[in-house]
Symmetry: none
Subunit: 203 residues, 4 copies
Amino acid sequence: MYKHTYKDETVAKGDTYKHIIDSALALVAEFGLEKASLSMIANKAGISKPAIYYYFSSKEALLDHLFNLLFDDYQFDHYFPLETYTKDNFSSLLTDNGLHLLQEYDENPELLKIINHFIVYAGQKQAYDEKLKHTLTEFLDGFRRLLIHGQKLGVIKEGEDLTAKSQLLGLVLDNISSYLLMGIKVESTAVWTQAVSYVMGDD
Amino acid sequence: MYKHTYKDETVAKGDTYKHIIDSALALVAEFGLEKASLSMIANKAGISKPAIYYYFSSKEALLDHLFNLLFDDYQFDHYFPLETYTKDNFSSLLTDNGLHLLQEYDENPELLKIINHFIVYAGQKQAYDEKLKHTLTEFLDGFRRLLIHGQKLGVIKEGEDLTAKSQLLGLVLDNISSYLLMGIKVESTAVWTQAVSYVMGDD
Amino acid sequence: MYKHTYKDETVAKGDTYKHIIDSALALVAEFGLEKASLSMIANKAGISKPAIYYYFSSKEALLDHLFNLLFDDYQFDHYFPLETYTKDNFSSLLTDNGLHLLQEYDENPELLKIINHFIVYAGQKQAYDEKLKHTLTEFLDGFRRLLIHGQKLGVIKEGEDLTAKSQLLGLVLDNISSYLLMGIKVESTAVWTQAVSYVMGDD
Amino acid sequence: MYKHTYKDETVAKGDTYKHIIDSALALVAEFGLEKASLSMIANKAGISKPAIYYYFSSKEALLDHLFNLLFDDYQFDHYFPLETYTKDNFSSLLTDNGLHLLQEYDENPELLKIINHFIVYAGQKQAYDEKLKHTLTEFLDGFRRLLIHGQKLGVIKEGEDLTAKSQLLGLVLDNISSYLLMGIKVESTAVWTQAVSYVMGDD
DNA sequence: CATGAATGAGCTTTCATTCAT
DNA sequence: TATGAATGAAAGCTCATTCAT
């Protein structure tokens, strides 16, 4: 699961709105979706409980908003901009982009926590489930498109099982951040570098 | 996260006890740790709420029991018995053992769900966090020991970064099951096969 | 144990607040601190149970409030204002003030009941215990100060054991009200009058 | 409230029975009548909860038994044996007997605590209330009979208000133990000595 | 005699939600 | 826009009690 730093676009809606969202994010990260109660959120936002209902019709609506905030602008291209990849920089850029993504999450452990809460919750809410599935699938697909691009550039051999290789990349990258989140020591740089070099056919 | 089929040893304790545990497992899988209430569990078990307290001193104690049930006998050796690996079967056994693990979880999607709930909950309960960390670390370490064994057998080249390679194996295997759980289509066999062949230095 | 008529100062807080306190006082008097449940209190106050939590953070907080209500403004001077005592009125004023106190409690048997419940409960809650001890000690001390004042006025002989005499006064007065509360017939006026005349050295 | 050391006569009923009563007494002293639950009692007695029902038909029955145990053999004569009082020893014996009673309670603070719990509970249970009233009244009456005896012996003047004096004695003695129980420092010896000397007409 | 197993009633507390203002 | 006041529903938990064994 990866996500770049969250930035809410709705500037016009005023401070209270943002306070609610920020408080909600912080509390969900700390206590989870259900234990983060509206009381706590209102409290942290410095407003009264009913005020939340002015902006969100229900707690569920608020959580939905957070969910979309985190997953909406989540795109493979943001981290691995296909158009910047050339024959010469392919391997090193792939490595760098991946490491950069890992670093971003390392710096925002809260985000990963929230996302994890949503992932588990997705088991109970179909709408989340579908969006989540779609998002992750898209990301895996991004790696596939990238590898195909690499083939066209001639840096990746023809005839390889690109699907499996791209999925391996996605799975590894995703899980490195999960393990980092849990505080399990993983040599993230080395592992990612190896995964890349393998996919590139280096040895 | 991997786990073989759960089997409770305490046969002597009678039916009610098992009903409680089974109901709890099912409901935790479906609704999560907090939303699976004692009322629901009692209901599903066909008993009254206080009856649960005859067997467990609190809801937390019940959840702890489930947690231990799932994580206690979780061992790398169970899936990858080091002593069975030889020079000749190393590569294929590694592949087969991994696929077998994946298949096991594929057949018990409930277990993975519960485990995921516990993983998220671990963020709030240190005891879980520690055990979880220890368990996952142990599993990664298992792969490392296995690769070292492979080196001794001469099937893996000297001078390789075994730590990174073992971690790659662990991360990939773990995340394949996660993705399967979420219903994301991953070519698990192909990916795992590739990961193994990479680590073995095949190409 | 003595206490003047309870009167809550917080007029501004609205009716519900007062209803809660009044209901709580009545039910604690009748059933005791533990058996007076929030359900009963809410019921008697004509509100829902959670409404109580809007005003008090817990049952304990509510009981604490009652406790303070009863003991806070409990002062010896309120019943025996030292500055009003003169050489001429000393004996009769001491008698009158005591009788007045007894009468007050006679007219508010509920208060004494509640106080008794708190006294017993003090054995389990240190905060109550300390305040209670302090309050009663202060009252005994009040009598001592009063007798010293009497010595200065020349109505009480020098060289007497004022401590013992003052404690006798306090103990008698306190226990008369207890016995009255229990419905045990005590000739309160006669007993108190005798106690006073003894302390004054009359015969 | 005064009470000599409790001693159960029912020896024949076996150990369990006594264990139950002892445990109940100890726990009632510590936690009060309601909070001392049958679970706790059974636990402390080293038996199972239903075992209590073999000896007592209900918790109330058990409490009733304790109540009677404490109040049944409560007699003024036990502490102040009228027949031992003579013209010569009257004053000193009265003093000594009272001090002895106080000392007894001082050495058994548990008993006083339990008795206090019952006194408060008496407000809710008429049967207790009546017995309690009767017991206390009897004690006050005992002092009256003693003073009358003193008059006959010629150590107390004729024409005195013996009722008020006897009540004063009873109230003082009773409340001294209460205050001692609460941990309020009272010069018990001095106060009681004064009370006696007053009643005797000494000065 | 005594217990393991179980229950209904009731407890304090928290929650998302509503509504008049 | 925002809040004070209140609520129904449900949570985890404890208790006195029962009953077959």
